[in-house]
C-alpha cells in the first residue's frame, strides 16, 4: 500500500512537472514581447550614460560593470 502510494505520488509529480510546458508563448505570440518597452534596457544609450554617471558619482568601481570612479569626465 505504502509502495503503491509512493509510486502514484512519483507518477503524479513527474506528470505535474511537465504541466507548465505548454505555457510558453508560441513563436507567433511574441508580438507584445517584441515591443521596445519590453526590452531590459529600452534605451541602451540612455542606460549607458546613467551607468557612467552612477559609477563616477558613487565612486562605485565595478557596480554594474568594472569602471573607475572619479569626475565622470572620461
Amino acid at each position: 500500500m505504502n509502495q503503491g502510494f509512493r509510486g502514484g505520488t512519483l507518477i503524479l509529480c513527474l506528470a505535474l512537472l511537465s504541466g507548465c510546458a505548454g505555457m510558453a508563448p508560441k513563436a507567433w505570440q511574441r508580438g507584445d514581447l517584441a515591443q521596445p518597452e519590453m526590452a531590459w534596457d529600452p534605451d541602451p544609450v540612455d542606460a549607458a550614460i546613467r551607468e557612467h554617471t552612477y559609477n563616477s558619482k558613487e565612486a562605485a568601481t565595478g557596480s554594474a560593470t568594472v569602471a573607475g570612479g572619479g569626475c565622470g569626465c572620461n
Binding site: G7, I11, L14, G19, G22, K26, W28, Q35
Partner: protein, 156 residues
Amino acid sequence: MNRVSAALAATIAWGLPLLAGAVEPKQPAPSFPALEAQRGKVVLVDFWASWCGPCRQALPAYEALRKDYGARGFEVIAVDVDQHPLDGEAALRQLHLSYPQVADAQGSIAEAYAVAGMPASYLLDRHGVVRSMHVGFEQEDIEPLRKTVAQLLEEK
C-alpha cells in the same frame, strides 16, 4: 523499475499533445481557404508578423520571386500572425504586395503548421505536399529557394 517506466510513460503521454500536428516534409500541408484557392500551383506559405524584422525583409523578396515564376504556376500566400491586425495592415500598406494575404490573429493556421520560429515558410508542390520548410530569413536564402521553386514547377 516498472514504476519508473510507468512514470516516464505518463510524463511522455502528458507532453505528446505539444508535438501533435507538426508539419513535416513529404506530408500534405494543412489546408485553409486561401490555400485551397491555389490548388494545382506550387505555393510558398509564409508566416510573418509586423514586429519581426526578417519577416519584413522576406516579403518583398518573395514578391520578386513571384514576379519571375507566377506565370508558370507559382504563388505566395503570406499569413499575417499579428495579434493586433492593424499593425500588419499598416506594414502591408508600405510593402505593396500583389500576392494573397491571410490574417491569422488567433494563430489557428500557425498552430496547424506548428510554426517554430519567425518567419517560417513552407514550400508546397502542385499536389499540396510540403517539400521544404525554412525558419528565419537571410538574403542568401533566396537563391536556393529560387532553384527549388524552378525544380518543383517542372514536376507535373
